[in-house]
Symmetry: C2
Subunit: 722 residues, 2 copies
C-alpha cells in the first residue's frame, strides 16, 4: 500500500544557505590524509568548492577556525544556521543534535559511526536521532556516513577530501556506503567522464531516508539520472511512489541493491542497521516501478555512463538488436555469448547492408553481425569508417557498438584504439542511431584522449562485453517499461475500497470463497452442508462430479482422517460418502468440532497452480504465483508481484516463471487460459489492497487453470485474518 | 572414447633453432604501427627479443633484409630451417607451404586470414594445409593468427609488435583469437604483474590443434599454468587425455570457451571455421577433466593471477571459506552477495578470534566476517594489521582477502590504498594462509607501487568482488577435483572390451534388455511371448502385476493402437489382455508385422527418470540423465557426462540437477536409491564405451528409481545401432 504521507522539504539539508561545523580545530595538522580532523576537512572542502553561504565553526576554545567565525556553542550563533555538520565522536551526537534543534537549526550531517550498526548501545543512541527526526521534523543525514555534496550549490558537507577538477553533471549518486560513494564517483568522473550533481552518503538513514533523497533528486532541476547503492529501505512503502514520480519526470532510477544473500544481510544489518528484505520481492518491486536494477558496481558505472548520455538516449528508438564492430573475431564470439546471456539480440545484417558493404569494401569477406573488421581494419584506413556506417545504416540494428580498447595499458605508441576516435566522432555527429564503445578487458588506465572526445560526441564508453550488454539490455528494458507505463498513464483502475473488518483467524471455506467471488476470482461451486440429504441436493444443483470435504478448523490434513471423498457421480454416492466421512472423522478425531461437510463441484482438467499472498517485512502484502508440486517446492519457481497489479503486470510476472511454457501446453495438453489466470492474479491483488493490514496471508491451492477460454477455478483456499 | 594416437613433437614450431621469414622487404617504412610489413615486424621482434637462432629472409629481390641473409626461395637456403614464417597474402600460402615441406622445413607460422572462416573458397585453401599437416606431418600454426612467442627460447614468431620489458613467467597463453591474445597478455603483465612463458595465437588450427599445444605446454618445464581462449576444438577426443596429463603434472588448465550461444557459434564459425559444440557438453567435459572453466576475460585474468601465484597455492589447504577485510561496509555486503552467488562460504569468525580482537582493538565493535574496518582503520594505523592478523589466524577462514583499491584513478596524494601495502607484505611473509587483494571497482590504472611488491610477497591482486569470488571458487573447485582425482589415481576400472557388432537399426526390446543386463543395468523382467498361454506362464513365473505391450518395429505409439495393457494381476487377465491386444492392433494396423507381445513385470513406485546416450558432434557419445516429464522437457534440467563415468562422477553429475532434492524424497515420498542410479549411469557409460561408434543413441524412459536400497529398474528402452 503506497504511503500517502507528504514528502518533507529537504532544502535546509540539501541546499543550505549557512552551515555550522562542530569538530574543527585550530590545532590541526592540515592536508594530511588521515590525521586532519574531519571538521577541518569539511571547512576546506567548502572553501575549495567555493561555497557561497555562511560558514561558522563551533568550538569553545577559539574565536575563529580557518578564517571562519567560531562560537562556543550552537545557541551563541547570532542567526541560526540551516545545517550543522557534526564531526565529533558518536557519544556527543544525540545531545548536540537536540541542542541544535533547540537553537533553531533545521538539519544536520552526522559522520560518526557507532549507532544501530554496532548493537544495543548504538541502537539506543540512534533511537534519539530517529525521534528527533520524526517528532521535530529535524533533517539528519547519517549517522555513519560521509555526508552530502550538492555540486551545483557548491555545498560539500562531505567528510572525504574532494579532489580539484570535480566534474559537474546530471548524475546524482546516493550511497548507503560512504566508501563506495567516493569510489563510484571517482570511477565515473575519471574512467567515464561522467559528471555529478550530488553525492549523498546516507549511512544509517536515522533521519532522512533513501526514499526521501530520491524524491528530492527527482524534483531537482540539475539532476537527470539518479543512481543509488542501497542496502536496506527505511520507507519501502514510498519506493514505488517515488519510482512513479521518477517515471513522470523521465529520470532513470538506477539501483544496486546489496544484501541478496543471508550472509550479506548479516553484513548489511551490522554496518548500517538496515533490514534488507527478500531479494525476490525487491526484484519484483524494482521491475514494477521501472527501476533499473544492476547487479554489480561495474554494471552500475556503465549503466550510469549510458543513461546519463543524452545524445545516446535521444537516438534510441527501442528494440534489443545490438550491432557490434570489432577487430577481434574472438571478441565477436564473446560479445555474442554475453548478449545472449542478458537477453539482447544480435540480428543478422540486412541484405541491403550486405550488398552496400560488398560494393564499398570489395575484398572484405565477412558480412556478419558482429562485424569482424579483422586485421584489415587496422591495415586499411578506409575500411573502419565503412564498416561503422554499415552498422549505423542497418535497419535490423537498434544499438551500434564498437569494440575499442580505450584502456590499453601499454605505452601510447603501441596502442591502436586512438586512431579510430576521430572516425567515430565524425560518424556519431551524423548518426541517427545510438553509438557506444566497449573494451574487451575491464581495467587499466582509460585514455582521456579517447574517452573525452567520444563522450562529447555522445558516444559513451563501457568496459567489458558483460557490462556493456547488460547495460544496453537495461536501456532496452527501461524503454519497454516506459512504453507500457505511458500507455496506461491516467488509465489505472481506481483503488478498491477498504474492506470491512473480518474476524481474526482462519476464514471458513465458504466465507473465503465468497470473498474471492467478490473480487472476481472464480471458485468451484461450494456449499457447506450438514446432512447427507442436503449434500445430495447441493450436488444435484451444482452438477456432478463433486467432492466432499469435512469442514473443521481443527483438522488441517483432511484426507488423513478420512475426511475427503472425490469424484462422486450420483446423489447416492454423495449420501454414502457423507455418512462415511462423518463417521470416519468422528472416529479419528473425536474432539474436533465439525462444522459440516462441504460439497464442491470438481473442476475439469487443467494446470494446477498456487496463488497466494504473503507478508514481506519490507513491502507488506505481496502476491505469489507458481505451479503446484515440485516446481514451486523444489525449484522455488515462483512469480512475485506487489499489489495492486494489472492483468498486464500479472502477465509480465508469469512470463518470468521458468515453467511458463507449461501454460502454453506441453505433453499433448491444450494451452491454458492465461488471460483468466492473469485476471485472478489481478483480483487477488485487489483483494490484498482492499483488506490491507488485516490480511495475514492467503493461499489458493490449487487454482486450476482450465484450457483457453474456459477460465480458472479456485478449488481450495486458506485465508488468514489478523 | 579417448584417441590413442601419439602426440606429435612440436619442437620445430615451438622451439625452432632457425627460422625463415617470407614477406619481409628492404623497402619498408619501419616502426609504423600499421604499414610496416608483418615480415619486417617479425624480424624486428626476433632481434629485439634476442633470438639466439639463425634468421634468414626469403625474397627474390634482395640479398639481405634487416641485416639477415636473404634467399630467392626456400630451396636456396643452404641448410633447411626448422620453421618458416609466412607473412604473405593467403593466395600464396598453400604453394609456399608445399615448397617448404619439399625443402625439408618442418614447421610454419601462417598469419594470413582468408581460409575456412570466409566460406567455400577459403575452405578449399585450408584443406591443402590440413592435408599437408596430416599426410606429411608438417606443423602449421594458423592460418588467421598472430603466431607464436616462446619467451624463454626468445623466439617470437609473432605478427604484433612486442613491447619492451616483456615479463617472463610461468603462464602459457593459447588463444584462438590473435587480438585477444595480446589484449589478455598485456593486461596480465601490466595490470597483474604476471609473467608469460608463451603466447600462442593458433587461429584456424589447420595444422597444430589446441589440444596439441596444450600437450606441448604440459610437458614444457618453463610453464606452470596453461590458459586458453578457445572457440572450437579440433581434436576433442584428445581434450580429456591432455587434461588428465595436466592433472598428473599439477599444471592448472584454465579455459575460456566462447561460442555458448547460437549467435556466437555463428560468429566463431565465421571467423575461425570452428565447430563449437553444445555448451552443456563442453561444461561436462571440463568438469570431468578438472579444467578450470571461466566465463569472461576478466575472470580468466584474475584466475591466471591467482593460479600462477605459487605462494598463494602452496598455502591453500582446501575449503571454501573466504575471509574479507574491508574499510567499506558496503563492500562487505556486496562481496558477501558475490560469494554466495558463486558458491563460496563466508563463515563467522571463531570465538577465539573474537575475543583476541576484543583484546587487541578495544573500541572496535564489529567482530564479523566480512570484517568492516570502517573509517577507524584509516584513522588509527594500529587497527589494520590487527584485523588482518585476526583473519589469518582464524580457523574458519580458508582464504584471506583484503579489499584494496589498488586501481584508484585519483592522483597519488588522495589515494589511501598505498599505505597498507607494507603491512600486507609483512603479514604475508609470516602467513601460513593464502592472502589476496581485490578492489571494489574493476578498472582504472593499477598502481605498480601496490601491485608489484604485493605480487612479490605472494599476494595476487584481483579486481571486483565478482571476479575475485569466482576466482577463489575456481581454486577451491580445482583442489576438490585434485583430491578426488588423486584418490582414485591408479584405481580406475579397466575399460570394457569392445562389443561385438550388432545389427543396424532399432534393437528389439528383449535384445536391448539383455544388453543392459550385461552392463549391470537392472531391467524389469521382460519376456517376448507369442501366445496367450505363453504370456500367462511367463507372468506367473515373474510374478504379478505385469504389463503387456505389443512388439513391432512398425509401431511407435503402442497405446494409440490398443497395444498396451497395464496392472494385470492374474493369469486370466493376462490371457484376456493378450487376445484383446492382438485383435486391436491387427484391426488398427493390419499391415504391421507383429513379433509378439512382451510380458513385463511392473516396477514398484519410485522416481521416474530418463537415462540415455546421445551423440555430440564434438565429444561423441555422451550420457544424459534427468527427471521424466516437464523437468527435462520444459526446464531442460539434464545432467551430462562423458563416458567412461565412475559412480562418483555420476553422483557429481546428478548433484547439479536443479531437481536433485527430489531424489532425497519430497512431498512425503521416501528417499530414492541414488547409489543404484549412479550405478546405472556408470553401466550405461560402460555400454557406450564398449559399443563405441556403432551406438547411435540410447534412451531408457522411464528408469524407475525405487526407494533406498531397492535399486532401479529400466522399464522401457530404445537402442539404436548404426
Amino acid at each position: 500500500m503506497p504511503d500517502q504521507s507528504p514528502w518533507r522539504d529537504l532544502a535546509s539539508l540539501m541546499n543550505p544557505k549557512s552551515v555550522a561545523i562542530i569538530g574543527a580545530s585550530q590545532r590541526a595538522p592540515s592536508g594530511g590524509l588521515a590525521r586532519e580532523p574531519r571538521g577541518n576537512r569539511v571547512i576546506r572542502n567548502l572553501k575549495n568548492f567555493g561555497y557561497p553561504g555562511r560558514i561558522v565553526a563551533v568550538n569553545p576554545k577559539y574565536n575563529e577556525v580557518m578564517d571562519c567565525p567560531c562560537y562556543p556553542d550552537l545557541a551563541s550563533i547570532p542567526e541560526p544556521v540551516d545545517c550543522v555538520v557534526l564531526a565529533v565522536p558518536n557519544r556527543h551526537v544525540p545531545d548536540l543534535l537536540e541542542s541544535a534543534a533547540a537553537a533553531g537549526v533545521r538539519a544536520a550531517v552526522v559522520f560518526a559511526a557507532g549507532f544501530a550498526e554496532i548493537g544495543a548501545e548504538g541502537k539506543q543512541r540512534q533511537a534519539r536521532l530517529e525521534a528527533l527526526s520524526k517528532e521535530r521534523n529535524f533533517l539528519i543525514c547519517g549517522p555513519n556516513c560521509y555526508g552530502m555534496l550538492n555540486v551545483f550549490s557548491k555545498a560539500p558537507l562531505f567528510a572525504s577530501t574532494i579532489p580539484q577538477g570535480f566534474l559537474a553533471g546530471p548524475v546524482a549518486l546516493v550511497s548507503q556506503s560512504g566508501g563506495l560513494s567516493t569510489t563510484i564517483a571517482n570511477a565515473l568522473m575519471l574512467n567515464r567522464h561522467v559528471g555529478l550533481s550530488h553525492i549523498v552518503s546516507c549511512g544509517n538513514q536515522a533521519g532522512v531516508t533513501i526514499e526521501e533523497y530520491l524524491n528530492y533528486l527527482v524534483e531537482d532541476d540539475n539532476t537527470g539520472v539518479i543512481a543509488a547503492f542501497v542496502e536496506g529501505f527505511k520507507q519501502p512503502e514510498k519506493l514505488l511512489p517515488v519510482a512513479r514520480k521518477a517515471a513522470e519526470h523521465n529520470k532513470p532510477l538506477i539501483i544496486l541493491k546489496g544484501g541478496r544473500s543471508d550472509v550479506s544481510k548479516r553484513a548489511a544489518a551490522t554496518h548500517s542497521g538496515s533490514l534488507a528484505g527478500a531479494a525476490e520481492v525487491v526484484d519484483a518491486a524494482f521491475r514494477q516501478g521501472g527501476i533499473v536494477q544492476v547487479r554489480s558496481i561495474n554494471e552500475l558505472i556503465d549503466s550510469i555512463s549510458v543513461f546519463s548520455c543524452d545524445t545516446f538516449l535521444k537516438r534510441y528508438r527501442g528494440g534489443r538488436g545490438i550491432g557490434v564492430l570489432s577487430g577481434s573475431g574472438g571478441e565477436c564470439t564473446l560479445v555474442s555469448d554475453a548478449a545472449a546471456a542478458v537477453g539482447l539480440q544480435v540480428p543478422e545484417l540486412t541484405e541491403v547492408t550486405k550488398s552496400n558493404l560488398q560494393a564499398a569494401v570489395a575484398d572484405f569477406g565477412n558480412m556478419n553481425n558482429p562485424l569482424d573488421g579483422t586485421g584489415a581494419m587496422y591495415d586499411d584506413e578506409k575500411i573502419f569508417p565503412r564498416l561503422l556506417q554499415a552498422l549505423i545504416d542497418d535497419d535490423n540494428i537498434d544499438f551500434v557498438t564498437i569494440n575499442l580498447e580505450a584502456n590499453d595499458p601499454r605505452p601510447k605508441e603501441l596502442k591502436s584504439g586512438n586512431r579510430f576516435t576521430a572516425i567515430i566522432e565524425n560518424a556519431a555527429a551524423a548518426s541517427k542511431k545510438p553509438i557506444a564503445t566497449f573494451s574487451s578487458v575491464v581495467g587499466g588506465p582509460v585514455d582521456p584522449d579517447i574517452l573525452q572526445p567520444l563522450r562529447k560526441a555522445g558516444v559513451p564508453l563501457m568496459e567489458g562485453a558483460e557490462c556493456a550488454t547488460a547495460t544496453l539490455r537495461n536501456v532496452a528494458e527501461y524503454f519497454e517499461f516506459r512504453k507500457i507505463w505511458q500507455g496506461k498513464a491516467g488509465n489505472e483502475s481506481s483503488a478498491p475500497a477498504p474492506h470491512a473488518k473480518l474476524p481474526a483467524g482462519i476464514l471458513p471455506a465458504e466465507a473465503s470463497f465468497r470473498l474471492f467471488e467478490s473480487f472476481g476470482i472464480p471458485v468451484a461451486p461450494t456449499v457447506l452442508t450438514r446432512s447427507a440429504d442436503d449434500a445430495a441436493t447441493a450436488a444435484e444443483r451444482m452438477g456432478f462430479p463433486v467432492a466432499l470435504k469435512v469442514e473443521s478448523l481443527q483438522i488441517t490434513h483432511k484426507s488423513d482422517v478420512g475426511g475427503v471423498a472425490l469424484k462422486l457421480r450420483t446423489a447416492g454416492e454423495v449420501r454414502d460418502a457423507f455418512t462415511r466421512i462423518d463417521s470416519q472423522v468422528k472416529a479419528a478425531m473425536p474432539a474436533a468440532r465439525i462444522d459440516g461437510i462441504v460439497v464442491q463441484r470438481m473442476a475439469g482438467e487443467g494446470v494446477e497452480m498456487i496463488l497466494g499472498i504473503k507478508r514481506d517485512p519490507l513491502f507488506g502484502a505481496v502476491v505469489i504465483c507458481g505451479f503446484g508440486g515440485i516446481l514451486v517446492e523444489v525449484l522455488k519457481d515462483a512469480a512475485i508481484g506487489i499489489p495492486p497489479l494489472s492483468s498486464e503486470q500479472a502477465h509480465d510476472m508469469l512470463k518470468r516463471l521458468r515453467g511458463f511454457p507449461i501454460l502454453g501446453g506441453v505433453r499433448g495438453k491444450p494451452p491454458a487460459d492465461v488471460d483468466a489466470l492473469c485476471g485472478a492474479i489481478a483480483g487477488v491483488s485487489r483483494l490484498a489492497v482492499s483488506l490491507g493490514s488485516q490480511l495475514e496471508g492467503l493461499d489458493i491451492n490449487p487454482l486450476i487453470v482450465l484450457p483457453k477460454t474456459q477460465g480458472v477455478v479456485a478449488v481450495d483456499a486458506l485465508v488468514e485474518i489478523r
